[in-house]
């Protein structure tokens, strides 16, 4: 679709402007539709206050909530309605208390003319540049039939647009009273939903491009926030095959030098095996280069993360103080995936984060709220790659030992690099091993190495050789036996213990 050239006006909600490809084309009429509590009025209030900020004199026409109530609601979300004129056409309490009901004529005969007259008078007197009307569907009761309603709405909108006014009007559609006719007459449709999670979708935008599909939305103490879905094509850094190191020579050796910048690395393994520590190691090294990294903790508390990193010689506190590391604790049930992606995007675009670690994907999955994690993580990692940011995805697998699975989420195809960590059971003792299963940009070491997490930091041993069945978690000796003091290889065979009592050395 061709983009309309010209000025756009803000809806007052930054994220919404973004998905509207810059905002609303002025002098047109847009339908805001959604069920009760989806934020139609709040959007209208944002739209009008954005007009005030531009020195305009916007008009709020309400056929439902009285002005006093609307002002209170606006104040509650910190919106200052000074400069907004209200035309309150909502029924007063007299209608009920003073027997104002009638049945001799239809409401269309009685109410339409005075209401229309009042609107025309206000528009002529105030000459607003933008109007929010809530709710256009109320006019349906003022029309004898569907045809008249359609004609009246069209004529009303034309009257406003002839004056160059940008109109946002809401509708309250139901199965009994659909608003299909309003959808046809509007130049754009903003659909608000609040089913499993709050979303906003642009269903139509005449003469303009827009970002389709549902986008995350939050209604909070600051009003409405929209979190556009990440679109990877938006940014793009030229790819440079730069290697980033972990600072642990043996680990870098396994990766044949290190990771390639701007790639997605999945660090997979069971609980407590050291996945986060491996990821943080890359950030420690990046901090040394003066780069900024961000860790999103979905499960662990910030203090506990800092404490355990400090305990293994990763000076996280100093990194945070120097601004080379941001650690953000994320409550997954509070954030939608779009909202979380927005956080990441800000870190990348505003704070120039070069490494982003998501710890862990299980927590991120909760943000997806039953949706498909692959779709969401795909968009996020594509965006990060396009931005030249290295993504570290921490993935916890359930199985401690047994049949090997790189990941249980079906996302290994997304990873350019796949580092896996395993527990090995050797004579009743648990040992840790690290291996590389995939590295897209270069060759890598095919063998596993023992991993130790000590107070001096991450220690990676020499390649484990002479073992088979390592991936089962209960390795067996092939040529020689293993010393009881660890899995250091190569070394002379010593007969002090064997991996399995029924296994004889060959």
């Amino acid at each position: 679709m061709a983009k309309e050239v010209g000025t756009r006006i803000s809806t007052g909600v930054t994220g919404l402007d973004e998905i509207l490809d810059g905002g609303l084309i002025p002098g047109r009429a847009y339908l805001v539709r959604g069920g009760p509590g989806t934020g139609k009025t709040i959007l209208g209030l944002h739209f009008l206050t954005a007009g005030v900020a531009r020195g305009e004199k916007p008009l709020f026409v309400t056929l439902e909530e009285p002005e006093g109530q609307l002002r209170k609601n606006a104040a509650a979300i910190g919106l200052n309605l000074q400069g907004v004129t209200f035309l309150d056409l909502s029924p007063t309490s007299d209608f009920f208390a003073k027997a104002q009901t009638y049945d001799i004529f239809t409401p269309a005969e009685v109410e339409r003319e005075p209401i229309t007259q009042k609107i025309v008078e206000q528009v002529e007197a105030r000459q607003p540049r933008r109007i929010f009307l809530e709710a256009m569907t109320q006019f349906r009761y003022l029309s004898p039939d569907g045809f008249q309603f359609h004609k009246q709405v069209l004529s009303f909108l034309r009257f406003l647009m002839d004056k160059g006014i940008t109109v946002l009007f809401s509708s309250e559609a139901s199965a009994m009273a659909p608003d299909d006719d309003l959808q046809f007459v509007s130049d754009g449709i903003i659909q608000l939903d609040a089913s499993s999670e709050r979303t906003v979708t642009i269903l139509k935008y005449r003469g303009s491009d827009f970002h389709g599909g549902p986008h995350g939305l939050r209604l909070g103490s600051d009003g409405m926030e929209v979190f556009p879905k990440l679109v990877s094509e938006e940014r793009g850094r030229p790819f440079t095959p730069e290697i980033i190191r972990s600072g642990v020579p043996e680990l870098d050796e396994m990766l044949h030098g290190g990771m390639t910048r701007g790639m997605v690395t999945l660090i997979s393994g069971p609980s407590g095996v050291g996945k986060t520590t491996v990821g943080v190691q890359f950030m420690k090294e990046a901090a040394g280069r003066g780069e900024h990294s961000v860790v999103y903790l979905f499960e662990e508390w910030l203090e506990s993360f800092v404490h355990r990193c400090e305990a293994i010689n990763v000076p996280v506190r100093a990194m945070i103080e120097r601004g080379t590391l941001t650690v953000r604790q994320v409550e997954p049930l509070r954030y939608s995936s779009d909202e979380f992606n927005r956080l990441v995007r800000r870190a990348v675009e505003e704070r120039d984060a070069r490494i982003v670690m998501i710890d862990s994907l299980s927590g991120y999955q909760l943000c997806v709220r039953g949706g498909n994690i692959i779709t969401h993580i795909h968009a996020l990692t594509r965006y990060l790659k396009n931005s030249g940011v290295t993504a570290l995805l921490i993935n916890e697998v359930e199985a401690i030992t047994g049949e090997f699975h790189a990941t249980e989420l079906g996302i290994s195809y997304l990873a350019d690099n796949l580092i896996f960590l395993r527990y090995l059971e050797v004579q009743g003792e648990l040992h840790k091993a690290i291996g590389v299963l995939k590295k897209r940009m270069s060759d890598f070491e095919q063998s596993l190495r023992e991993l130790e997490i000590t107070r001096y930091g991450l220690k990676v041993g020499q390649p484990l050789r002479g073992l088979r069945g390592i991936l089962t978690g209960t390795p067996q000796l092939v040529n020689h036996q293993i010393a009881g003091d660890g899995l250091r290889h190569p070394r002379p065979p010593r007969q002090n213990w064997r991996i399995r009592s029924d296994e004889q050395p060959e």
Binding site: T101, I104, E109
Partner: protein, 123 residues
Amino acid sequence: MPDEPMILVVDRTQRNLELVAQLLSRHGYQTLTGANLEEFDHILAEPQKIALALVDIGGFDRRIWLRCERLLEKQVPFLVLAHRQSAAIQQESLVHGARGVLIKPLTIQTLLASIRSLLAESA
């Protein structure tokens, strides 16, 4: 303005009376209104000439038909307003002298046309 025809409107709903009175006034008619049988009786006892009556039977009991007969006796043409189409109401209305029955809600154009037609007929 003595030349403007006087129209009597009887309706138990105050808002209906107001709306009809406003409408008729805008179209050059004078109105008398009655919201109950007592007011109806009082108006009928007055000597002023009534050109036409609109009687909304909603909310009244059968005694309304006696007042309709009084209108007939006084040679005041009248229309009955009812809230639903009913053969029984139609029959009762005509038996008691109504020139016709209009079903609510009315459209303004229909009401005005009916009034004009009846007045022309009476003249």
